[in-house]
């Protein structure tokens, strides 16, 4: 083994490196699979990139719920806006918008479960 490594140093180094990368991804994949299977992660934490429609789907609430909560005008244009855009338009911070939306979604979840 050592003799081979001495004769082909670059090749053996490259092989060892590729093997290490492979192991790294194996561990990462296993970790993300475990995370995926954890039911506690089912509701997506709200983030600036999400659109109202995306949240509607992710949290499985009626189509109008998010739009009503965010006081969106329904102009029928079907334009995509993200939560970040909405916060900017309404002149408030993204955190406070997410906070309000989270409270609304959680209370809706609580009443739906009763």
């Amino acid at each position: 083994m050592i003799r081979i490594a001495k004769r082909h140093p670059y090749l053996v180094t490259a092989f060892a490196f590729a093997l290490a990368v492979m192991l790294f991804f194996t561990v990462r994949l296993a970790a993300s699979m475990i995370f995926w299977n954890d039911r506690a992660h089912l509701d997506q934490p709200l983030a600036g990139w999400m659109t109202p429609r995306y949240i509607t789907r992710s949290w499985n609430v009626p189509p109008d719920f998010v739009a009503t909560t965010l006081a969106l005008e329904r102009d029928g244009a079907g334009r995509r806006v993200t939560l970040q855009d909405l916060a900017d338009q309404q002149g408030r911070s993204l955190e406070s918008l997410i906070q309000d939306l989270k409270i609304a979604l959680s209370s809706r979840r609580a009443t739906a479960n009763e």
């Binding site: 090749l11 490259a14 990368v21 492979m22 991804f25 600036g48 659109t51 995306y54």
Partner: protein
């Protein structure tokens, strides 16, 4: 990182999908799989239209691969000619070319979706080694259809958990590509060791 990309897809929509699909075929390191998954997810939510996403991504990806192939054919072929001046290297290049003629089509096919991170390099090599254009294109069109179809429909299916499915698929793609490279190096190393053993035997050592 991924969240910024999702933001681009939700804000700008289809152009982002097309540009990402095109550039990823040219070895420009943008996580296009995340963009495809996001496009599928926003299609599921109703923010994008599914058939538009799929058609555009597919066309852009094939166009990107074509660009890589022709860069290889124009630029890479010249580099190979210079390298071939040396007789020992010429033999090695001859082997590589024979390998490409024999397995190139299948290689292109799998490198578009199964070993996607290797894709741009395979396109470039295929162009440099003078793989026939029609063979390249047919395998490529088939492979990209699988890649786009797979990622967009996974995004569509698991839209509600977009960040997590993205992480899983990135790890999976990394693992498969690393495994291919590891296996390739192992075979090459084995070949080298055998060759030097035979050398030793013939010299009576």
């Amino acid at each position: 990182m991924n969240e910024t990309l999702f933001g681009y897809v939700s804000t700008y929509g289809l152009p982002v999908v097309a540009v990402a699909a095109y550039l990823s075929c040219l070895a420009i390191p943008i996580p296009t799989s995340a963009v495809m998954l996001a496009a599928g997810a926003f299609a599921a939510a109703g923010d994008l239209i599914l058939w538009q996403v799929v058609t555009l991504a597919w066309l852009a990806a094939v166009l990107g691969d074509q660009t890589g192939f022709f860069i290889g054919r124009k630029g890479g072929a010249r580099i190979i000619e210079i390298l071939e001046a040396h007789p020992r290297r010429a033999a090695l290049i001859g082997n590589a070319r024979a390998l490409m003629q024999r397995w190139g089509g299948v290689g292109v096919f799998f490198s578009t979706w199964l070993f996607a991170p290797l894709g741009p390099w395979v396109n470039f090599l295929a162009g440099s080694a003078k793989l026939s254009w029609i063979r390249f294109t047919l395998w490529d069109i088939a492979g990209e259809a699988i890649w786009v179809g797979l990622y967009v429909s996974l995004g569509f299916q698991f839209a509600a958990r977009l960040p997590e499915i993205t992480t899983i698929l990135n790890d999976w793609a990394g693992l498969i590509s690393a495994a291919v490279v590891t296996l390739g190096l192992a075979l090459f190393l084995l070949h080298k060791v055998r060759a030097s053993r035979n050398d030793n035997a013939s010299h009576g050592r």
